[in-house]
C-alpha cells in the first residue's frame, strides 16, 4: 500500500522539480542586442476615471517614440489605494502609478519609490512649488506631480443658500433647517474631521525623525471637538459619502463638503444653482468665528523601485504629467493642474470648483499624516456622529492622541 503512495509522492516530487528547481529567469525581457528592436514592457496603474485619458496618452507616447516597441498594460487602481495595492506584492505591481501625495512618506520609507532622475530640473521648474514639496522627501524628488486639487471645500445650492449664508456654518445650518434640507459634512471620516482642528491651529504632521506630531488634545483641540459635538446634533447636519452627495445635492442636500471629483455630479444636479465656496467659519463655545481648515493634497505619479525598466518608466511618468497632458487632464476630467503654465490659464482660474479650492488654500494644511491617524480618528469621529457622548471630550481626545503616538 505504501507503494502507490510512494509512486504518487515521487510524481509530486518530479512536478516539484519542474516548479521549484528550474533556475528562475529574472531580469529584463527582450533581447540585449541593442536599441533597434527594443521591446519595453510597462504596467501603469491609474484610477477608473483616468483610464480613458490614460489609454489616449499611452498611444501618443508610443507614437512619440517610434524606435521602441512599448507593451504597456494598464490597471485600475485608485490613487488612494495605490500604496496598499503596491505593497501587497511590489514585484508584481505597476511600474508607473498614480498615488495621493500623503502616501509618499510611507512609500519612500518602505523603499517602494525610485528617486526621480529623468528630467528632474524640468519637473521642478514647471510645477507649483508646493507640489514639488509634496513630491519630495528629505529634499529629494520622488514623484512627478500630476494634479494640485486633492482637497475639500463647499458645494452649495444657490437657490437655498446665498453667498452670505455660506460664510458661516451657523448660516448654512439655519437656512437649511428652514428649507428642510441638510448639509453633508462627513466628520465621521478622519479626512474631514481634521478641518475643525486645523481651524483652531492644531498640528497633525510627521516630524523629521518620523514620529507623529499631534496635539488634538490641546485646549484648542477641545474647543474644536466641542464645536463638532454641537454641529452633529443639528437636524440640518448629516454625514455621507460620494454616492449620498451625488444623489442628494439639489434635493435633500443644500450643501456638501467634498472635493473636485464631485464637481461634475454637483454641476449636473444643480444646473444653474451650482455654486462652490471656501469652507465656512464655525462658532466656538465662547462665540468666536473660526475659519475651518482643510487638507491640501496632490496627485503624483511615481515609479516602482522594483521596476525592471527604470528609465523608460520615468520617461512615461514624465510624459503623463507634462504641461500638455495636465491641460488635457483639466479639460477631460476637470482636475486642477499642478503645472504653473496650465494653472495660470483663464479656463482654470474661472472654474467654479477650482476657484473655491484656491480660496480655501490659505487655510489648508499639506497632508502629511501618520498612518495611524486614519483608523484612530475614524473611531473618534464615528463616536461623535453616532451621538454617543458617554465619554467626555478631553478623555476621548487623550485616547486619540495616545493611539496615534503609541501606534
Amino acid at each position: 500500500m505504501k507503494k502507490l503512495f510512494a509512486i504518487l509522492v515521487a510524481l509530486v516530487l518530479v512536478l516539484g522539480m519542474v516548479v521549484g528547481c528550474t533556475p528562475k529567469t529574472e531580469g529584463p525581457g527582450g533581447d540585449p542586442e541593442g536599441p533597434v528592436s527594443r521591446e519595453v514592457k510597462l504596467k501603469v496603474w491609474a484610477a477608473q476615471e483616468e483610464q480613458e485619458l490614460l489609454a489616449m496618452l499611452i498611444e501618443e507616447f508610443k507614437a512619440a517614440n517610434p524606435d521602441t516597441t512599448y507593451i504597456i498594460e494598464t490597471g485600475v487602481v485608485g490613487e488612494n489605494d495605490a500604496k496598499t495595492r503596491l505593497q501587497e506584492d511590489a514585484e508584481a505591481a505597476a511600474d508607473v502609478f498614480f498615488f495621493a501625495h500623503d502616501q509618499l512618506r510611507d512609500l519612500v520609507i518602505a523603499e517602494n519609490l525610485l528617486e526621480v532622475t529623468v528630467s528632474t530640473e524640468d519637473v521642478i521648474a514647471r510645477n507649483l512649488e508646493k507640489s514639488i514639496v509634496a513630491a519630495s522627501f528629505d529634499d529629494r524628488l520622488y514623484a512627478y506631480p500630476a494634479t494640485a486639487d486633492n482637497g475639500y471645500f463647499l458645494f452649495y445650492d444657490n437657490s437655498v443658500l446665498s453667498e452670505e449664508d455660506v460664510q458661516t456654518l451657523d448660516g448654512i445650518l439655519a437656512k437649511s433647517n428652514e428649507a428642510g434640507k441638510q448639509l453633508m459634512f462627513a466628520v465621521n471620516d478622519s479626512w474631514y474631521l481634521a478641518s475643525f482642528f486645523f481651524g483652531m491651529g492644531c498640528t497633525l504632521t510627521v516630524g523629521p525623525n518620523g514620529k507623529a506630531i499631534f496635539d488634538f488634545n490641546s485646549e484648542n483641540g477641545i474647543i474644536a471637538a466641542e464645536a463638532i459635538k454641537v454641529m452633529v446634533q443639528d437636524p440640518a447636519f448629516c454625514v455621507g459619502d460620494n454616492a449620498i452627495f451625488a444623489g442628494g445635492i439639489g434635493s435633500t442636500l443644500s450643501a456638501g463638503v467634498t472635493g473636485t471629483w464631485n464637481a461634475a455630479a454637483a454641476k449636473e444636479a444643480l444646473g444653474e444653482n451650482y455654486a462652490a465656496a471656501k469652507l465656512p467659519t464655525f462658532t466656538t463655545a465662547s462665540g468666536e468665528q473660526v475659519q475651518l481648515g482643510s487638507f491640501s493634497g496632490y496627485k503624483l505619479v511615481g515609479v516602482n523601485a522594483l521596476t525592471l525598466q527604470p528609465i523608460e518608466a520615468m520617461r512615461l511618468a514624465d510624459f503623463l504629467t507634462n504641461e500638455a497632458n495636465q491641460a488635457k487632464r483639466f479639460e477631460v476630467r476637470g482636475l486642477g493642474p499642478s503645472n504653473i503654465a496650465v494653472f495660470n490659464t483663464d479656463a482654470v482660474a474661472n472654474d467654479i470648483a477650482l476657484r473655491a479650492l484656491r480660496e480655501q488654500s490659505p487655510f489648508s494644511v499639506p497632508q502629511d499624516v501618520p498612518g495611524r491617524y486614519w483608523g484612530a480618528a475614524a473611531a473618534f469621529g464615528n463616536t461623535l456622529t453616532n451621538l454617543d457622548f458617554s465619554v467626555d471630550i478631553p478623555t476621548m481626545l487623550n485616547d486619540l492622541v495616545a493611539s496615534i503616538l503609541g501606534g
Binding site: 503512495f5 510512494a6 509512486i7 504518487l8 509522492v9 515521487a10 521549484g20 531580469g27 454617543d388 485616547d399
Partner: protein, 465 residues
C-alpha cells in the same frame, strides 16, 4: 532466454537467503529492488531519492534553509544596468519562508519514499526466501485498481489536502511568530522571527513600552477579549434562534390541515434563491439612518427621530442577529421538515392518549428526536457562525466604531477583525491576524470536539437505526 531468467531467479534466491542484501537499501534506496528484479520500481525509488538529495536539496533547498533562521539579510533592490534596464537582487522573507516550508515538506516526502524503498526491498527478499517472485511493477499497478483500490482513491485527496490545506496552514501559523506587518513588508523590506512577541501583544503585555504604546497595547488586548465575547454571543444566538424558529415554522407548515404546504415552503425557499450578499446589501440600504424603513416610519409619524439600527451598539448587534434569521431560517426549514415527517405518528397518538398537550409533545418527542439527528448540523452551524464573515461584514462592516477597540467596531467578529487587520488596515498587522486565526481555530476545534463527543450522535454512531 528462459534459462537466463531461471538462472537469475535462482541467483536472487541464493542472495536473498543470505539475509543481508536488503540492508543495502538503507544507504542505496532502490538498488536492492533492481537487484531483485523489480527494475522499474527500483529505478523510480532511486531516481526520486537521487534527484531530491543530490540535485535539488544541495542547490535549491540548502540555500533556502540556510536563510530560514534569519529570513533574509539584504532586502530586494533593483540594480540599474548600463542599458537602462534593471535586475532584481536581494532576499524576500516571504519567499524564503514559503520555499523553506515547501522544501521541508519535500524532504519529509523523500524520507517516506526512502522508508518505503527499504520496506519494499525487505518484502522482496522475504518473497524470494520462500521461493516466490517479487511482484512486478505491472502487478503492482494492477493491484492498485483491484485489491489496493482504496490507496488509489485516497492518495489524490490526501496529497491535495496536504499541499493546499496543511502546508498553507503551517505557513500562516509561522507568520504569528514573525514581525510581518506594515513596516516590514517584503520584498523591499525583510521581516524576521520575533518568537512570542505577537502573542504577548494580543494578550496584553506592555513590558518595556512608553505610556502611549501601553495604551495601544491595552487596546489590542481589550479588543481581543471583547471580540471573543461578542463572537460567542453572536454564534449562540445566530445558531439557536435560527434552529428554533426554523423548526417552529416547519412544524406549523407540517401541521395536519394546513393547505398549500408546497406554496409555503416555496415561499421560504425563495429567500435562499436570492444570494445572501444581495439580501444583506439590500437590508443595509433599508436600515440605514436615511434608509427606506426610517423614512417611512418618519413620514407616517410613528417615530420622531431616525432609529439608528446600524449606528447604536446594542441596536446594531440585535439587527445583525435578526437579519441573519432571514437568511438562516429557510435552511433550517429545509433540513427539519424532512426529519419531522419521519417521526412516527404513533408516538404522538400515544402521547395524546396519555393526555400530553402540544408543548409536552414538543419537548418530549419532537425536540429529543430532532436533537439526536441534527446535533452535528448544529455544531457545524455554530462553527460556521463563529466565522460568519458575510453576515457581519456585508451588513455593518463591523460598525459602529468605537475608540475602545483597536481597528475594529462593535459588531466585528474575530474573523472580520482579522480581515480588517490584514486587508483594510493601513498597518497590515499580518502577524496579529495570524495569532487571531490560531486562537479562532483553537476555540472552534475545542468547542466542536467537546460538543461532538458528548452528543448521542457520536455515542450511538454504530447503533443508529
Amino acid at each position: 532466454m528462459k534459462n537466463l531468467r531461471l538462472f537469475l531467479f535462482t541467483l536472487r534466491q541464493r542472495i536473498a537467503k543470505l539475509r543481508f542484501l536488503s540492508w543495502l537499501s538503507i544507504p542505496l534506496p532502490g538498488i536492492v529492488n533492481i537487484i531483485y528484479g523489480q527494475y522499474i520500481k527500483g529505478l523510480l525509488f532511486f531516481l526520486a531519492e537521487f534527484w531530491f538529495w543530490i540535485i535539488c536539496f544541495p542547490t535549491f533547498g540548502l540555500a533556502q534553509l540556510r536563510q530560514l533562521a534569519s529570513l533574509g539579510e539584504t532586502p530586494r533592490r533593483a540594480v540599474l544596468q548600463p542599458d537602462g534596464t534593471a535586475i532584481l537582487q536581494g532576499d524576500n522573507s516571504l519567499q524564503i519562508l514559503l520555499f523553506s516550508i515547501f522544501i521541508i515538506a519535500m524532504a519529509v516526502a523523500a524520507i517516506l519514499i526512502w522508508v518505503a524503498a527499504v520496506k519494499s526491498a525487505r518484502l522482496a527478499e522475504k518473497e524470494l526466501q520462500v521461493g516466490r517472485r517479487p511482484t512486478s511493477f505491472w502487478q503492482d499497478l494492477k493491484n492498485l485498481f483491484d485489491k489496493n483500490l482504496h490507496i488509489t482513491m485516497l492518495s489524490l485527496p490526501t496529497i491535495g489536502v496536504i499541499a493546499f490545506t496543511v502546508l498553507p496552514i503551517i505557513f500562516m501559523i509561522c507568520l504569528a511568530f514573525t514581525n510581518f506587518n506594515g513596516t516590514n513588508l517584503p520584498p523591499t523590506k525583510l521581516f524576521s522571527w520575533t518568537g512570542l512577541d505577537t502573542f504577548r501583544q494580543v494578550f496584553g503585555s506592555s513590558a518595556g513600552m512608553n505610556e502611549h504604546e501601553a495604551v495601544v497595547a491595552a487596546k489590542k488586548a481589550y479588543t481581543f477579549g471583547s471580540l471573543i465575547g461578542w463572537t460567542l454571543i453572536w454564534a449562540v444566538f445566530a445558531t439557536f434562534l435560527n434552529y428554533i424558529f426554523g423548526m417552529l415554522i416547519s412544524l406549523m407548515i407540517n401541521k395536519k390541515g394546513i393547505k398549500l404546504k408546497g406554496v409555503f415552503r416555496a415561499c421560504f425557499v425563495l429567500a435562499i434563491a436570492v444570494p445572501a450578499f444581495v439580501t444583506l446589501q439590500f437590508m443595509r440600504q433599508l436600515l440605514m439612518e436615511k434608509g427606506v424603513i426610517n423614512t417611512l416610519l418618519l413620514n407616517w409619524g410613528i417615530i420622531k427621530e431616525s432609529i439608528r439600527f446600524l449606528d447604536n451598539t446594542l441596536l446594531a448587534r440585535i439587527t445583525v442577529i435578526v437579519v441573519n434569521l432571514w437568511i438562516g431560517i429557510p435552511y433550517t426549514i429545509l433540513i427539519t421538515s424532512g426529519i419531522l415527517m419521519n417521526i412516527p405518528a404513533d408516538l404522538y397518538e400515544a402521547a395524546s392518549i396519555d393526555g400530553a398537550g402540544p408543548f409536552k409533545k414538543f419537548t418530549n418527542i419532537t425536540l429529543p428526536y430532532m436533537l439526536a439527528v441534527t446535533t452535528p448540523y448544529l455544531i457545524t452551524q455554530f462553527i460556521g457562525n463563529i466565522n460568519n464573515f458575510n453576515a457581519i461584514y456585508l451588513l455593518t462592516q463591523g460598525y459602529p466604531l468605537t475608540q475602545k477597540l483597536y481597528e475594529a467596531g462593535q459588531t466585528d467578529l474575530l474573523v472580520t477583525w482579522l480581515y480588517k487587520l490584514s486587508i483594510t488596515s493601513q498597518y497590515k498587522d499580518f502577524n496579529i491576524a495570524s495569532v487571531i486565526g490560531i486562537c479562532t481555530f483553537v476555540i472552534c476545534a475545542t468547542l466542536s470536539l467537546v460538543t461532538y463527543n458528548i452528543t448521542s450522535s457520536k455515542k450511538k454512531e454504530a447503533t443508529f437505526r
